[in-house]
Each structure stands twice: as C-alpha cells, then as structure tokens.
Symmetry: C2
Subunit: 337 residues, 2 copies
C-alpha cells in the first residue's frame, strides 16, 4: 500500500507509492510510449481492460462493463491512494506517516476516442459535471476521507497517460495544504474586512473588464490578476457558494458552456495544448463557508518550471493576464467568422 | 519593466514579464529549438554575445569580455527581474503590485562546451562554489533586495535554455513565500522543542542510515523522508549554520566532492537526466538563526506534475527514498569497479 509522509519542515504531505519503486527505468519508457490507439482501454468495447465500473450513465438493459454507456467511472488501475485499509497514522521522532488510504477514480467522458472537451456538445459536458457532483457526494460518505479533488489532465505534458478524454477524482484522508492555505487566507480576509474575498474579486474584475473572458448570470471566467502561467484561467460562481455539491441545473448549464468556451479559446491560439483543470471546493467538514467560493482553475502547460520556481514558489509568467484575456477572446472571435 | 503581483488569496507573488506577452507562439518555437552548438554564447570566444561581465576568474592581463577566463558571471540577457529602478509598491483595492526590481545573473562555469557538473574536477567545482558565495555577498549590499536564490537548471526539462554548464542567481525584493514558510515552521519547532529541526534531521538520518547517501566531517547528503520526487536529494552542513555566506575552505572542499558525487550517481542510473538544484540560505536580514540550516535540494526532472499536484500541493513519488538511496549508492559503486 502507498504511504503518506509528512515533511517535518514544511508540513506538506507526500504520497510514496512503493509499487513502482524498483523499476526506475520505467519512467523513461513511459516518456517514449507511443500509444496504440486501437488498444485504448477507455474506448467502447474494451471495458474488460479496466477495473469494474463504479458508476455509469448507460442505455437501459445493458450490463455494467459492457458497451452501451455514455460516461463510465472506474477505479484507477494504478491508484495513487488505495480504498482498502485503515490510516494507522504514526509519529516516530520528527517523522510522521500514515497508510495511503483514499480513492482514485477515472471518469471516462465518452465511449468514442475523442481527445478533448471542446469537441463535446454542451449537453454532454453537463452530464460530466453532474458526474463530478455525484462522485463528490458518494465519496464524502466514507468517514476516512477529508477532501476530494476533481481534476483533468489533458495531454502528455499535463501528466495524462491516455489521450481518450477523461477526468480523475482523488479522495484524500486529509485536507491538502494548498486548500488549507486558501481557506485560512480567505477566512483572514473575511475576519478583517467582513467580506468574502472571492465576491470582491468578482466585482473588481467585472468593474475593470480587462481580464474578464466571459460571464453570464451564473458564472465569471477571467485571467487572474496574479496568474502564475500564461493563459491561466479561473471560473467562479457569481452567487456566493463554497460547496461544489450545491450546483443546480442552471449553474451546470452555464458551466458546460463556460468550460467549452475556455478550452476552445485556448485551443484556437495554442492548438493541441496540454492543460490541467482542477475544481477546488470546500472540504466536506466545512460546508456553507461565508468566506470561500468553489472555483475552477485552468492551467495551460507549456512553460517549464525551473529552479527559481522550485526554490521560491514565485512563478515567472511571460504573458500578462490582460494580454492573455485579449488573445483568448480574439481566438474565439476568429472562429465565429 | 517586469511587474511583481501578489495573489490576494494565497499571498504568493508572481513575476509578470511583459516583454514577451505579445508573442504567444514563441513558446512553441522555443520548445522545438535545436540549439546550434557552434553559436553557444557561453563558449570562450563568444563573449561579445552576452551582456558585459559582472565578474570573472581569468588569466592575468586579459581584458573583461575577452577569452582567458575560467568562470564568468554575466547579467541574464532576458532577465526575470531588472536591476534598474525603484520598487514603487502599490495597493489598489484587493490587488497589490510592485516593479520587477531585482538582479538576474548567469554563472558560466567553464569556457568549454561541457554540459554537466559531474565531468568537472572537484577543484573546478570549488571555484564555482566560491563564486556563489561572492555573488551572495555582493548582491546583499543592494538595499532593495531581500533574498538571493542560487540555482541550476540542467537540461531542457529542467528549464535550461542552453546546454553549456551554468548556474543562475536571482535577487528578489522580498523574501519568497517558500522560504518564509520554512523559516516559520523551523522557528515554530525550535520554540516548542528548543532544538533546531535540521540538526534533528541530521542525527536521525545518520542514526537510521537507510536514506543516507554520503557524509564526511562537514556535510550529509541523503534522500529526504518525504521526498516529493524520485531520487530527490538534500545536502546539509553538519555543524549548525543558517547562512551560506559563512562557508569556509573546508566546507567548500567537502561540498565540491559531495555535489559531484550526487550528480554523478544520478547520471549513472538515469543518464542525461535533467535536474535542478537550489541553495536555500537564510535571508540577509536574518543571519545567525538558531533554527535554520542552509541546504541544497537536488531535484531530478522526469516525472510530470499533473492536476492533482497543482490542486493540492501533494506530490506522488513512485520511488520510496529508501530505495532511491540504495539505487544512487549502487550507481556510484558500479563506476568504481
């Protein structure tokens, strides 16, 4: 089983996954892998090559793990965290560890070998978003888990192992440090200013206009003021809401269109770009927070992280977010002609 | 001039470098660049292609920016931060910014087109380390700077633009968040335990042996307990010392040998691997800290950072550090036969 270890200095946890430790060269083989598309384990007809499905939207009277599905959720074959066992948290001297208990699922977004979300119909993306919510609700019932991250790795540079369009879900037995920090700093702001910092960001961005991508009655997408990466984007719900599980039909419809617009714009200016997106909701134990909004970060992956970033946490971004917003909006305009 | 922007939520600063913002496609061109070795601006004879040198170790009676040098320090031609101007820190509503004032230098480690440190003689590496110290001392005299990071990007995957062996120095007008956090948590440990956590780590690792790589009377190298990356290594001074500027001849001799051993071992098991190393010293304003050690982190770059890591700060490491230490030591043994 994998192990979670706490850095005694920074307090950050790390997942040590022992299984592959004896094969250092496998990393290089992976880099050079040329995926055989015919054998894609996520394509309809190849259901037998994945672990048995956890959930699916499928045609009536079709059996699990057979064709006839639109979206399939399966456990990750090489999970970062395993759903079996107990935590057994231990501290020996300065070092703290626990068992790598959690969940790691793959959401296969289509039975066809489609590679990116922007070729989906908004209706199809809506279904994927509903599945995100469903897995959040299902996994929060396990008392061993404290947080669930939903994320997408698109393209090899973003860490994807398969090109077939998919998202992932990882449930962790602790609240990750990055989430904790966002909660702490937004609470600090609320305590001193009596306002939610996310609500403030929304009104400031709408007021300034120059970093806004698109907005409707439910959502705002924009390039953040202190974007770490060129063309980084953020999607926020306009109405105050900390918990992604509370999304309703109207939000889901908006979000499907907004996600498609963002990914589409990115692909217009940087065709075939690798990217990650992550959904950062409040932890299960902290619902209805006055100071936090759930949000989605979209991170294009084409600049390299070098020694300076590792050593300081300061990122160097060559595209000011005001320019990024302009480029992204132009991209989308061009396609409409 | 570049701009520093503070993320209102996380408190992290970002460098927005405007110059290249209008050329989004240049990133892709860079990726595909096939370096013309004959035109390497770091090779002897091509001194005219870099900005004028800041410092060099060179033969007597040779002029600056001409051949005859062993190590040359030049300003970075495309600096992340610029040495001209004042900070002009401003806060408008929730958003805070300042001018990108700092220094960004390149240390060209050899006049010959040698690509990695492990082919250097320890004597040559000693000279490079003395230059690290010299630049730290020189840059701390500028009252606009709060911190200096010395780092190396080796290989394209580690963010290097040139294959010719070099290090970099960046002076920042603030103490980076990652350094602040390490200072805070080590101080917290000291306040509660009355001991330096780095001293504790050293004695614990020497006691346990299983993660130790090499040690001598001055230094310890090991794979950290909560390594984020496969084959991550750390070098610590055994005697308590927070400030890298305080290194003496004995430490420099040890460090040259230790660095060569670490990089050599890495290259034995993963030939040609890209890596970063970073030297984390105490900030200028905080010398002689009882709770901090200067240290060097060596980070091999062959796993991809994906959505989970971006969304949580939790890294997934497939090689337990105990195995990594074994592999690295075996690698070096093999070469001795």
């Amino acid at each position: 089983m994998a192990e979670l270890r706490k850095n005694p200095l920074t307090g950050n946890w790390v997942i040590i996954s022992c299984k592959r430790g004896k094969r250092p060269l496998s990393f290089f083989l992976e880099e050079k892998r040329n995926e055989n598309e015919e054998k894609c384990p996520f394509c309809e007809g190849n259901e037998g090559t994945t672990p048995p499905e956890v959930f699916s939207y499928r045609q009536e009277k079709t059996a699990p793990d057979t064709p006839g599905w639109w979206i399939r959720v399966v456990p990750n074959k090489f999970p970062a965290l395993s759903s079996k066992g107990q935590l057994n948290r231990q501290k020996k001297g300065i070092y703290e560890r626990m068992n790598g208990v959690g969940a790691h699922e793959v959401i296969i977004e289509t039975p066809h070998h489609v590679k990116d979300l922007f070729s989906f119909e908004p209706k199809e993306i809506e279904k994927i978003i509903w599945i995100y919510r469903r897995r959040l609700i299902a996994l929060m019932k396990d008392p061993r888990f404290e947080y669930v991250l939903i994320f997408k790795n698109k393209g090899q540079k973003a860490g994807a192992s398969f090109s077939h369009s998919h998202s992932q879900v990882i449930a962790t037995p602790l609240i990750p440090k990055d989430i904790k920090e966002k909660l702490q700093s937004s609470k600090k702001y609320f305590d001193s200013e009596k306002k939610c910092i996310f609500c403030e960001i929304i009104s400031e961005e709408i007021n300034l206009k120059k970093r806004v991508l698109w907005d409707d009655e439910n959502l705002l997408s924009f390039c953040p003021f202190a974007s770490r990466f060129p063309y980084e984007m953020c999607i926020l719900p306009k109405a105050h809401c900390s918990d992604f599980r509370k999304i309703d039909e109207s939000i889901v419809k908006s979000l499907a269109i907004m996600l498609k617009k963002c990914i589409n714009a990115l692909n217009k200016i940087l065709p075939g770009i690798s990217y990650n997106y992550i959904i950062q909701t409040s932890p299960f134990s902290k619902s209805n927070l006055k100071y936090y909004h759930w949000h989605i970060e979209i991170i294009p992956r084409f600049t390299r992280i070098a020694g300076f970033e590792w050593g300081t946490g300061i990122y160097i971004n060559h595209v000011p977010p005001e320019d990024a917003a302009k480029h992204l909006k132009k991209g989308i305009k061009r396609t409409k002609k």
